[in-house]
């Protein structure tokens, strides 16, 4: 028992920060990230017998953490949030409407090509401003390219719900870009 608890302490020492950074990247909230790391270590203790010495502790702990992160978001996605449905109705009106004849109302943007530094900063700001459910999908699907089916299964949501959220995410990002003066991405 003592050996195992010492091992756990050592793992916390060696991998704690790394796990914390990973969690923070996904949830963007330090206190949630801390809780997730704590839960991970408690869970690791409970399933110590499943760990084979010689394997990478880091990878094993990461696996547990990923699971806990999914659990966290799964709970979020399952909460019936009536605001969401209201949002959906409103935002579906924003860009769709009369097709613009002729020149239309496209705002001419002479600075469409932004310095990449500025663009990166804005991208980061806008993504971090997304509601956490949408931000997570951005990271998991848009950035990491995890398969839609896998994500739906892990998060306990239907394909339809997934597509609705992704669409909303894309629109919210675009609104945010526009607010920062970016009309077109290049």
């Amino acid at each position: 028992m003592e050996d195992e608890s010492q091992m756990l302490e050592q793992w916390l020492e060696e991998h704690g920060d790394f796990l914390f950074r990973h969690a923070l990247r996904k949830v963007n909230d330090p206190s949630v990230a801390e809780d997730l790391v704590q839960i991970t270590f408690l869970s690791a203790w409970e399933s110590m017998s499943k760990f084979k010495t010689g394997n990478s502790a880091k990878n094993w702990l990461m696996g547990i953490l990923r699971h806990k992160i999914m659990d966290y978001f799964r709970r979020l996605y399952s909460k019936k949030n009536h605001e969401e449905f209201g949002e959906e109705v409103l935002s579906s009106e924003d860009d769709h409407g009369a097709k613009m004849p002729g020149a239309g109302n496209q705002i001419q943007d002479p600075m469409a090509t932004m310095e990449s530094g500025e663009l990166r900063k804005t991208l980061k700001r806008c993504v971090n401003a997304l509601p956490e459910k949408l931000r997570f999908l951005y990271l998991e699907r848009e950035m990491e390219g995890n398969p839609t089916g896998d994500l739906c299964e892990q998060l306990g949501i239907t394909d339809n719900h997934f597509h609705v959220l992704m669409h909303r995410m894309r629109r919210q990002l675009r609104d945010c870009f526009k607010k920062h003066g970016i009309e077109t991405l290049s």
Binding site: L12, L42, D95, M100, L123, E142, L185
Partner: protein, 95 residues
């Protein structure tokens, strides 16, 4: 005939699933006639491109560490967990 709302939805879905032949055909027709939707299409394609190019280096909280306080808190929680588990085990040991 697709309207703009349906088009926007389909375009977004097309990034995350395969579209059927007839869906693609409907999109093509609408996009030919609608600049706004064409712009949206360009935008979501560019967003993906930008994300995959910049994303991996952009969201790393590089310098973040577990504070000492949190470090000890986790250690304490784990120890408490361990000792409560051991207490149970001890009480279950046959005499």
């Amino acid at each position: 005939m697709l309207n703009c709302e349906e088009t926007g939805r389909l375009l977004s879905q097309g990034m995350d699933r395969h579209l059927q032949f007839w869906e693609k055909a409907g999109l093509r027709i609408h996009l030919k006639m609608c600049r706004k939707c064409s712009q949206f299409r360009n935008y979501i394609l560019k967003l993906k491109e930008l994300t995959q190019r910049e994303g991996p280096t952009l969201f790393e909280p590089e310098e973040e560490k577990l504070s000492d306080e949190v470090h000890s808190r986790i250690l304490d929680a784990v120890h408490k967990h361990i000792s409560s588990g051991e207490a149970e085990n001890h009480s279950q040991k046959p005499t």
